[in-house]
């Protein structure tokens, strides 16, 4: 077994997690802000939809994604018609899957962080001449900083551990869709326990380090320790 046997799936997994986390932060920030402030009656429905990936078995999610993203599926057709990339058994498809799979892990900490900002803080800024967009960047983002970091780390870590969805829509194309978890699964299937050990150890170490990071960040701003 060579270094590239570990490095290629690891690099792919890190790339997938990084791209997904970045996109999720961009998408979830407005969504979470809206959820934290809207008075619409359909908010519970939206919140349930956002949280659905937590409770759904990844295979269910993967199945629906496969149906939608396949060249004959609704989303796949649109992508093909526009000359877009293939969405199943491709890196693009994995990113789309990850976005949905990790959505609640980014959206919820963001929503909690935005909800925790006292309305008076934003009102005070408004009376000082700060426009809504100005308030968002000068008050909301700095005050939600910790929630944003937590959301990013959780989204990243959760994408690292993705397996079922990848298996369903990604297959196992080395360097394209063969992530760490798939590589471990295949190693075990082929009874290559040595390789599985190394891959699993790497996954364990990364996840552990990320969680330590989250908890130490939470501690740093806890009201009990100043």
């Amino acid at each position: 077994m060579s270094v590239s046997d570990i490095w290629i799936p690891l690099a792919l997994t890190l790339k997938l997690a990084a791209v997904s986390t970045l996109l999720l932060l961009l998408l979830c920030t407005p969504l979470a802000w809206w959820l934290a402030h809207t008075r619409t009656r359909i908010r519970p429905v939206i919140e349930a939809l956002v949280s659905l990936p937590i409770v759904l078995p990844p295979s269910v999610l993967g199945f629906y994604l496969l149906v939608c993203l396949a060249p004959s599926g609704p989303v796949g057709k649109v992508s093909q018609a526009l000359g877009g990339p293939a969405l199943v058994f491709s890196f693009t498809g994995l990113v789309i899957g990850s976005l949905i799979y990790s959505l609640p892990f980014v959206a919820q900490p963001l929503q909690n962080a935005f909800s925790a900002i006292k309305s008076e803080q934003l009102e005070a800024a408004a009376t000082l001449g700060s426009s809504p967009l100005d308030r968002f960047f000068s008050i909301a983002i700095p005050q939600a900083k910790q929630g944003i970091v937590t959301a990013a780390v959780l989204g990243f870590a959760h994408t690292l551990g993705e397996f079922g969805v990848v298996l369903m829509i990604g297959g196992s194309i080395p360097g394209e869709t063969r992530t760490l978890s798939i590589a471990i699964y295949e190693s075990v299937e082929m009874l290559e326990y040595g390789q599985a050990h190394i891959l699993a150890g790497v996954a364990l170490a990364i996840s552990f380090v990320l969680l330590v990071l989250i908890y130490s960040l939470n501690r740093a701003s806890s009201p009990f320790k100043r």
């Binding site: 006292k118 008076e120 803080q121 009102e123 005070a124 800024a125 408004a126 009376t127 000082l128 001449g129 700060s130 426009s131 809504p132 100005d134 000068s138 008050i139 700095p142 005050q143 900083k145």
Partner: protein, 354 residues
């Protein structure tokens, strides 16, 4: 600057329906019992209650009209919240700079000046959560002024402050109002605070405006039926020191009065209060008494107060005094309108627990 408004707002079971026109050239107090809708009215005027309906006209500017509401950040107000609402992620100086950066007319006065007048030089690098209640309010006031507002809104700024800091802050507020000359709307449930600081007063009850007049009139004890300790408002024009005696002679709306210099702040307050129960009446001047202040006065009216007491309304020079005396004394002195008397003032006060 004239402010006129006609506002409606339904909030759960509370409904606000307030209409008034204010001169708003100096400090206007908004007083009333808790739950009267004072803060809600202020929030409506500031544009913080987005469901408010009606009209708001400030000077020539329509802030609310035909369902169109001017966003709060365009209203050029400074708002001092009850709990200060300092930005928690910024230190004191950064809080001030936040306001300063968004100030429309930074030429009016410098940030240094604001810091000096509000006396917060020593707090600039502190974080808001390390400040005392009084310090937080000072910073909040400084921040509001730093944004060079054309109108200052203060929502019970002293209610979260402890008693001694409160007393000091009332003097400071008076000085600050005088220095920056920003017309202010001042919400308080404390009548003495309103009497000290304002020239015009709105009284509110259950979401309605019940009085809109000069403070002297709106807060006259005969107008108030809330069982509060009645007091008179005395306007001070100037002061002479009698250093060898430790006294100050004040030229006031009720004539000259002597008070202990130590009881007055260095900056002369504009108004002092005399509690009705601190005034005695005598038909002739008493040469052999310890009362320093015996003000010649004429009885104007006698108002019922309680089973045992009546409230005697007196005119002395340009001012009005109210004295609380027993019914028995009133009968003994044959008190009746136009009867000349002497008001014996036991003490004057700057705060009076109203």
């Amino acid at each position: 600057m004239k402010i006129s408004f006609d506002l409606q707002l339904q909030k759960g079971r509370f409904s606000l329906d307030a209409k008034a026109e204010l001169p708003a050239d100096s400090v206007t107090a908004i007083v009333g019992p808790s739950g009267a809708g004072k803060s809600t009215l202020l929030r409506c005027l500031a544009g913080l209650e987005t469901d408010a309906k009606g009209d708001i006209l400030v000077g020539e500017e329509a802030w609310l009209q035909n369902g169109h509401s001017l966003a709060p950040h365009f209203r050029r107000i400074g708002y001092v919240f009850q709990h200060a609402a300092l930005f928690e992620h910024l230190n004191v100086l950064q809080n001030l700079n936040y306001a300063r950066k968004r100030a429309l007319d930074a030429e009016l006065y410098t940030l240094d000046e604001v810091v000096q007048v509000t006396r917060i030089q020593h707090l600039l690098d502190r974080s808001p959560d390390t400040l005392s209640g009084g310090e937080r309010q000072r910073v909040a006031i400084a921040r509001a002024i730093a944004s060079t507002p054309q109108l200052l809104f203060l929502d019970e700024p002293l209610s979260a402050v402890d008693e001694s800091a409160r007393r000091e802050l009332v003097h400071e507020l008076e000085r600050i109002f005088r220095r920056f000359q920003i017309p202010a709307l001042y919400v308080t449930h404390n009548l003495a605070e309103a009497a000290r600081l304002s020239t015009h007063t709105l009284r509110m009850k259950a979401g309605r405006i019940t009085a809109n007049a000069a403070t002297q009139l709106a807060l006259a004890p005969t107008q108030l039926s809330d069982g509060s300790d009645p007091f008179s408002i005395v306007v001070i024009r100037s002061r002479d020191e009698l250093p060898e005696e430790g006294l100050s002679r004040l030229d006031t709306s009720i004539g000259p009065i002597l008070v202990s210099s130590a009881s007055l702040p260095r900056d002369l307050p504009r108004r002092i209060l005399v509690r009705a129960r601190d005034i005695g009446l005598s038909l002739s001047p008493l040469p052999e008494t310890s009362f320093l202040n015996q003000i010649p006065a004429t009885v104007q009216a006698i108002h019922e107060h309680s089973i045992s007491q009546v409230l005697v309304q007196l005119s002395c020079e340009e001012g009005t005094l109210y004295a609380l005396v027993t019914r028995r004394s009133a009968q003994k002195l044959l008190l009746a309108p136009s009867r000349p008397v002497h008001a014996l003032i036991k003490s004057v006060t700057l705060q009076a627990e109203a």
